[in-house]
């Protein structure tokens, strides 16, 4: 897949993984890996990018005597997901057109 496209898709995937409930790094990777190729090291820059873009916030909580960071989606994050959905509908139409070979 083209790099730029994959980058954008991964951002959306991570947001989707924390949409319903806050999650932490390792779980995000586990939740996403059946659908998309992602590793802990790939996730890290994405989380930072989303945080600086105010798509998510980070809080630290204790877990088993150590600290763990939990990621919480913001309103702009939810907005980004909605935007993706509408973009995707458009893309699907193009996809259909392309796979039909442009016939009427």
């Amino acid at each position: 897949m083209e790099n730029q496209m994959k980058r954008g898709l991964l951002d959306v995937c991570v947001l989707a993984a924390i949409r319903d409930e806050d999650s932490y790094g390792y779980r995000i990777v586990k939740d996403l890996s059946p659908y998309v190729e992602i590793s802990e090291s790939t996730l890290y820059p994405i989380l930072r990018r989303l945080e600086s873009g105010q798509m998510l916030t980070v809080r630290t909580a204790e877990h088993n005597g150590r600290l763990r960071k939990y990621y919480h989606i913001t309103d702009s994050g939810i907005e980004r997901l909605k935007q993706f959905e509408s973009e995707w509908k458009e893309l699907m139409q193009i996809y259909e057109f392309v796979t039909r070979g442009g016939e009427k």
Binding site: Y24, G25, Y26, S39, Y44, P45, R66
Partner: protein, 199 residues
């Protein structure tokens, strides 16, 4: 490699980043290792599965703006003493021009990059236009059929070449972007990490 060794190496590789960036990165990877181990993966495997320190470093550096990295590098590690400030002021005729020339060099490298791309497309456009002009001239001239044929032939050739070049130039532009990204990463690496000793 166990967790402690990994953390040490990562910290060394990222030396030069701001304290905040460094801590965030190391914390994140520690948390990943802990979570992996909690999930039943043995320590060695949990660490090695994260990838090499060098790969991790590249991924981290790509997301941190170069300005932040340079700023961190030139920021004094402690408050300056009065005599140091005095010395800086007295020495300013020496260091201000040096810093300025460094900044200007950086800017000119950046501009060169864009101007090369721009000049490629301007060349292409001029080829295309002269091609079109040749075709037009072939019909406007009054020197006879042979000249007309000659002019239109050249015109069509030029137009064709310009179209082909356009695709070539697009590819070159793409490469230039990749190259410039690599260049920036290389620059960042000059500032971050302990110099590797021979081992």
């Amino acid at each position: 490699m166990n967790k402690t060794e990994f953390t040490e190496q990562l910290r060394a590789a990222l030396k030069g980043l701001s304290e905040e960036d460094l801590k965030k990165s190391v914390d994140y990877y520690e948390e990943m290792i802990d979570d992996r181990m909690e999930d039943g993966i043995p320590e060695e495997e949990a660490v090695n599965g994260l990838g090499s320190i060098d790969e991790i470093k590249n991924k981290i550096l790509k997301e941190i703006p170069i300005v932040n990295i340079v700023k961190e590098k030139i920021k004094p590690k402690r408050g300056l003493a009065g005599w140091e400030i005095a010395l800086l002021v007295i020495g300013s005729p020496v260091w201000v021009p040096i810093v300025l020339s460094l900044i200007i060099t950086g800017l000119s490298i950046y501009m060169t990059f864009w101007i090369i791309i721009l000049s490629l497309y301007v060349t292409d456009l001029s080829l295309f236009l002269s091609g079109i002009l040749g075709i037009v001239a072939a019909f406007m001239q009054t020197n006879g059929f042979a000249t007309g044929l000659f002019l239109s032939g050249i015109g069509i050739t030029l137009t064709g070449v310009s179209v082909l070049l356009f695709f070539g130039f697009n590819q070159i532009t793409k490469w230039m972007f990749i190259l410039s990204k690599k260049f920036v990463l290389w620059l960042k690496k000059l500032f971050v990490g302990e110099k590797k000793s021979a081992n």
